[in-house]
């Protein structure tokens, strides 16, 4: 069985960490990732940019593009894609392809800050 682990934290709090504190945490996390990788159990790992960089696509026949942090608390995270695009414009067009096939909901486009496709390499 594959499981995804989604990381939640108050963004205001995360932004309050110093670079040194953040780096130290990443080192600790990479140790855990390394263990999982050596056991052959680690899939892709991604760190997303802050929500301020997000763009939203409202699903439907004619998808609507909206800026910014996700505000609709009645919707839950049901899945995700990682796509490779040369620009935000292209990512929006790609997301619209998906949005047109879904009658409801929102797709959030968020640039990926750090990505490791097959687990961490140290």
């Amino acid at each position: 069985m594959l499981y995804s682990i989604l990381c939640y934290e108050s963004e205001a709090l995360a932004a309050g960490r110093t670079r040194q504190e953040d780096d130290a945490m990443m080192v600790r996390l990479r140790t855990v990732q390394q263990k999982l990788k050596s056991e052959g159990r680690l899939g892709p790992v991604a760190r997303l940019m802050p929500t301020t960089t997000a763009t939203h696509i409202r699903s439907g026949k004619d998808p609507m593009v909206v800026d910014g942090p996700f505000a609709e608390t009645k919707e839950q995270l049901l899945g995700f894609y990682v796509i490779d695009c040369p620009s935000l414009e292209d990512a929006i067009e790609t997301a619209k392809l998906l949005a047109r096939e879904k009658p409801h909901g929102t797709l959030e486009i968020r640039p990926v800050a750090v990505f490791n496709p097959v687990g961490v390499s140290l």
Binding site: A12, R17, M49, P50, T52, D67, G68, L88, E89, P111
Partner: protein
Amino acid sequence: MTDMAWIDATLTAARPQVLGALLRYFRVLDAAEDAFQEACLRALKNWPVKGPPRDPAAWLIFVGRNFALDEVRRRSKQTELPADDEIVTDETEDTQTELAERLDASHYRDDILRLLFVCCHPDLPAAQQVALALRIVSGLTVKEIARAFLVSESAMEQRITRAKARITAADVPFDTPGAPERASRLSAVSTMLYLLFNEGYSASGGNAHVRVPLCEEAIRLSRLLLRLFPSEPEIMGLSALLLIQHARAAARLDAENNIILLEDQDRSLWDRELIAEGLALVEKALRHRRPGPYQIQAAIAAVHSQAAEAGDTDWAEIDRLYEILESLQPSPVVTLNRAVAVSKLRGPAEALAMIEPLAAKLGGYFYFFGLKGALLTQLDRPEEARVAFDHAISLANTAAEAAHIRLHLDRLQKDSESKRSA
């Protein structure tokens, strides 16, 4: 047990929202600050024992408001008071939190904006605006702010007290602002955040290391503003500009605190994560096709950040962006900056011709004479270059700026000596 470091960070992060809401209730800054202070004390006492509330900001708003209302009652001696610990009881905490949430969800955006906005009242000089924002919104101590501004604690205390007195007299309206009022508040707040950043970035005096926190605070507040106003391209531009500029912090000074110019910086020291976030925001902003000065400046910083080596810089694009900036926001300083791009594209003579008419307006500006000296040096006019550099030194704001110009003068000196001996 709740981790004290977590509580501390939570109180700092919640400060703008909580203080903003308390200011809306009490309309007096000092009263709001006292109530916030009391709420924090109770949090420090309460949270480690009972665990953190589901929504810390709502908890603090509620407790702060109750405290202040009780103060009023205590003074008027009309009502029996509950004991200290009964004010927030376990059974009702969740209901109270929900109530506070409902009261505040619709307001908090304008609350925070108002809190920032009272700090940048047009009557306040720029230095006072920034000091006040650091004290009120960021919650830095007077001592910390004094250290960052390199003035004595008592001088800073005075500056902040005077600023507070002025804004109390100024009477900022507390109604929910309409769209035009909101836009003008946003613009004033953006300018103030940019000033705050620049206070840390260009170090208008003294040791640069002390000032990095000012840049980081400006970035924190700009991200906060962007979370509140996610569709404002100029706020995206402002955030992007600050992020990309700050990304170069580690490369801007050497171990002896000497300035390293952009073209000489070790680009491997640039913070790629901050740059990537800045670039993402520039791209997002430009999609709106509502260009503004911050977006264009961010786009210029973005072009620099994308050049692997100084020699790869796309100066034609930078020149084009400065041209747009000149039309959006005509200023001799913008023209001065454009002249750098022009000197790279079309040579120093054309750039010099461009900046010479600015002499009257920029006669007190360090960078004007620094650039003029550099262009004259490139044109092999050492005597005039020396005069310009001497002038620049007399206008230098920091020891590092003066030292940088002295480097140019030394080079001129060596050149003329080697010519004489040849």
